[in-house]
């Protein structure tokens, strides 16, 4: 059971996310029928999975919502802002309830209760009914649907009609008539229609009395005796009528099902037997034809079941378009995926040793096999890796909601645009990016954007715009957050920084440097603290988090025009394509994606340069001589080669040359951690094992450059 609940939690939280984004979209497009249908379907699925996990309290709650959206589908004008707010609130509650499935916490019980009241009010308004009646009908209707959701596949034998009206006192001795109806579905396909016309209003409702009766149509390999057996323990007070209506399995005939669904009128009278029998006769003939044409295949029946439920619950019978989509995806646990990645990386390593063996043996046959293996393992790696990536879209959707709520809170009007949602990132990266991005957005909303009045004064559209976009840039993914707010007031910042002792009165800083000050710990310009942001622990933490992901954050702001914050994070992969080079006999891997070109330069030229810059392809390129940069303390250097290789790399928009002794070739490196003992060597992002078993070190080029710059500064 707990496993089932876990599955439920996973599926449900995804479904909630989806519904949230749909509803947010709906808020802007109140007339979009397609969206309403999708929301409805989402709720319907949610109800189904919660029912399956046996979470009746949740199922019941969602049912109310679903019903409302069912009405909205019939009449779009029912869709109000109020309803959208309510839906979002409900989704929030459901998210909380996912952690409290049985609804045991007091606050959750209260919350749910008050929300249910609200929903019922809305529903009553839409249905034009008394809320109490709505509430009443609802629970019953909901029970009915639960039963109907589990009909059994049958052979086509006979069809019976059963009218069952249990005695009023039936529940006192603990028996539950619902279980009986349920039991019936064990022996044949059943369609049950509850009749609750006798049920009183809620204020005079007596929980101990059973006032509901059922009309049940059952078909399958059954007999009257068998049905009677089911009801054997029911008191004599109960009314039970069993009549055979057909010698065929009418319930397997979808037309018949559709026809009898007219009886699905909750307040209606019991089915009159004559009516049902005449219907049965009508379809008896048709059934004959059908059975001739199609041998009753189980799949056929399954289809019918599917259609049936749609007929009943979606009167518009919009075919579920999403279905094929969800069918083509598979839920896999991350452990399995990690295992797969582990094996893939071992295959890549093994392939590398195969290649080196093939190189030494020099047999054409072996070469061929090795080459094929190389191609295959590369493809395998690509496929496996792409599986660990998730589009950034999901996260963007979450922000949409946050922006909406926060802007309301702040009394600002914002248009939030997200672009490049299809950009894919490693899942762990996305998780770690969420908080920093959230904070940046909050800052933009709170400090960046002006109030509508201020905006009008500044000759800007009343509604502010925040644009969040993601795109690939070489080996990086860039995420840009742009707002058209007031921008950063450099004077204010300078003042503040001096006041806080971050800079001194006489320090001269460029505009960019001043803007960067907002990333200094303990800096906050908002004169008054607000709930949303401005606690002064913001941007420095953001910067720290981003650099933990080996990313870079930069800011560009124009007074009165807006602010753009750009985050660049590397696609940290467990396998990277790199260039294998040697420096003083040690193998290093330079990530291929940032490499621009390789040049051969005489070593003498290195000695004749100033400021470590030389000219390549007509451009001045600063360089880092890895030989001296990595020289060990004891200084035992091998003599330099006559020609050194310069690998130019794009690091932070600049071209920088890395001087190495020799270039071995392209290499797929499986990143392995260097471990705790080397945690201070952060310019090495990991190690990789070469085909011959030697360990190569994978360079973090940005960190290497950073360290080299620091060292040069210290020397000067």
């Amino acid at each position: 059971m707990s496993k089932m609940k876990n599955t439920f939690q996973v599926e449900a939280s995804e479904l909630l996310k989806l519904m949230e984004s749909l509803i947010l979209q709906l808020e802007h497009e109140l007339n979009n029928e397609e969206l309403v249908s999708e929301v409805f379907r989402g709720m319907h699925t949610f109800k189904a999975i919660s029912g399956m996990a046996g979470l009746n309290a949740i199922t019941g709650f969602v049912h109310h919502l679903e019903t409302i959206y069912d009405f909205v589908r019939d009449d779009q004008s029912n869709l109000t802002k109020e309803l959208i707010d309510l839906s979002l609130e409900s989704i929030d509650l459901l998210k909380i309830l996912l952690e409290d499935l049985e609804i045991k916490k007091d606050e959750n019980i209260k919350h749910k209760k008050s929300l249910t009241e609200k929903i019922i009010q809305v529903r009553a308004k839409i249905e034009d009914k008394d809320p109490d009646i709505v509430k009443e009908n609802d629970t019953k209707e909901f029970d009915l649907q639960i039963q109907e959701s589990k009909p059994k596949v049958t052979t086509h034998k006979v069809t019976y009609h059963i009218f069952f009206s249990p005695g009023k006192e039936v529940m006192i001795d603990g028996s539950n008539p619902l279980y009986l109806v349920d039991e019936l579905s064990e022996i044949g396909t059943t369609v049950a229609f509850p009749r609750i016309e006798k049920v009183s209003r809620l204020n005079s409702y007596n929980y101990d009395k059973c006032l509901t009766s059922w009309d049940i149509v059952i078909s399958g390999n059954i007999s009257k005796e068998k049905i009677e057996e089911t009801f054997i323990f029911i008191q004599s007070e109960s009314k039970l009528e069993i009549n055979k209506i057909s010698d065929q399995d009418l319930l397997a005939n979808q037309k018949f099902r559709a026809a009898i669904s007219v009886f699905n009128n909750i307040d209606g009278q019991p089915i009159r037997l004559e009516e049902l029998q005449s219907l049965a006769e009508l379809y008896n003939k048709e059934e004959n034809i059908i059975t001739e044409n199609k041998a009753d295949s189980p799949s056929e029946i399954d289809d019918i079941v599917e259609i049936k439920s749609e007929k009943e619950q979606q009167p518009k019978s919009t075919k579920n378009k999403k279905k094929s989509e969800s069918d083509s995806s598979l839920r896999i646990t991350t452990e399995k995926l990690d295992k797969l990645m582990e094996i893939v990386s071992e295959i890549v390593t093994a392939q590398a040793s195969l290649e080196s063996v093939a190189d030494t043996i020099r047999s054409p046959e072996l070469d061929e096999v090795s080459e094929t293996m190389e191609k295959l393992s590369r493809r395998l790696k690509d496929v496996a890796f792409s599986m660990t990536l998730v589009p950034i879209k999901n996260m963007f959707n979450r922000f949409q909601r946050m922006v909406r709520d926060t802007s309301r809170e702040l009394g600002k009007s914002v248009h939030f645009i997200s672009e490049g949602g299809e950009t894919e990132l490693d899942k762990t990266l996305i998780v770690n990016l969420k908080d920093p991005l959230m904070h940046i957005l909050r800052n933009s909303l709170d400090h960046g954007l002006e109030t509508p009045e201020e905006r009008l004064l500044a000759n800007k559209p009343e509604k502010g715009t925040i644009k969040m976009s993601a795109f690939y840039q070489g080996a990086y993914v860039c995420i840009k957050i742009e707002d058209d707010g007031e921008g950063i007031n450099t004077e204010k910042i300078t003042e503040k920084a001096i006041e806080k002792g971050i800079i001194t009165q006489d320090s001269t800083l460029s505009k960019k440097e001043i803007q960067e000050l907002i990333f200094t710990p303990g800096f906050s310009t908002a004169s008054e603290l607000t709930d949303v942001s401005g606690r002064g622990v913001g941007m420095d933490v953001v910067k720290k988090n981003i650099s933990h992901l080996r990313g870079i954050i930069s800011i560009n702001s124009e007074m009165g025009v807006g602010t753009t914050i750009t985050i660049k994070i590397p696609l940290t992969l467990s396998i990277i394509d790199g260039l294998l080079v040697t420096v003083q006999g040690v193998y290093y891997v330079i990530p291929l994606l940032i490499i621009d070109k390789c040049h051969e330069v005489p070593y003498v030229e290195l000695l004749n340069t100033f400021n470590e810059i030389f000219v390549l392809d007509g451009r001045q390129v600063p360089y880092i001589n890895l030989r001296s940069h990595f020289s060990s303390i004891n200084g035992n250097e091998t003599s330099p080669p006559e020609y050194i290789q310069v690998v130019t790399v794009n690091a932070e928009d600049k071209l920088i040359g890395l001087c190495v002794d020799s270039i071995v070739g392209q290499y797929q490196a499986v990143l392995k951690p260097l471990g705790e003992t080397y945690k201070n060597q952060d310019f090495i992002s990991g190690a990789s094992i070469l085909g011959d078993g030697t360990v190569a070190l994978v360079l973090d080029v940005n960190k290497t450059i950073e360290i080299s710059n620091k060292e040069t500064l210290n020397q000067n």
Binding site: E346, V586, I633, N634, N636, P673, F683, T694, V695
Partner: protein
């Protein structure tokens, strides 16, 4: 025989130790800490690390850091001989168990040492820092130094660098790098 019988009820703790040589000195560590003993493969030196951090090796697909305790103790590193080997052991660094290999000039034997054979480490002698020892064991007529390997690896970097700095001047000509 009689004395043994009398001693038994005292529940004397006897542990197995692996003895090995660093230079001419004999050391021992608890066998329970040792994972395996292996030949010295090609070692990749990680740049910008202290000298005693000899580098990393490939241990069946994972990366294993190698430490030269000779250098750590400020002794002269020995020439690698066929006898030289790596003792792979579990150590605790910042409450995490990690595998580390230490270079040993020769591995001797596994022997049982009872608690009463172990005495406090001497406060002087041998140029060894006494904080890296858990004690001295007298086995037959020899003295074994019991290494506190966890303690060695947990000394903070500045302290280590101090040590290393003073040694390096003496050992500039020595090749600690296998390459």
């Amino acid at each position: 025989m009689e004395t043994v019988k009398i001693k038994e009820p005292e529940i004397e703790k006897v542990s197995s130790y692996l003895s090995f040589y660093l230079g001419d000195e004999q050391f021992a560590i608890l066998v329970s800490k040792v994972i395996e003993i292996m030949e010295v493969p090609r070692i990749t030196k990680v740049p910008k690390t202290s000298d005693y951090m000899v580098g990393v090796i490939n241990l069946r697909g994972s990366v294993l850091p190698i430490v030269d305790i000779n250098l750590k103790f400020g002794l002269k590193p020995k020439e690698r001989t066929p006898e030289t080997c790596i003792i792979v052991m579990k150590i605790n660094i910042n409450e995490e168990v990690v595998s580390v290999g230490i270079l040993a000039d020769a591995v001797d034997e596994v022997l049982n040492i009872s608690e009463n054979q172990i005495s406090e480490p001497p406060s002087m002698g041998g140029g060894f820092n006494k904080e890296f020892l858990t004690g001295m064991a007298k086995v037959e007529e020899r003295f074994l130094m019991l290494l506190d390997i966890d303690g060695i690896m947990n000394k903070n970097e500045t302290e280590l660098l101090k040590n290393v700095g003073s040694i390096t001047e003496k050992k500039q000509d020595e090749d600690t790098n296998t390459n």
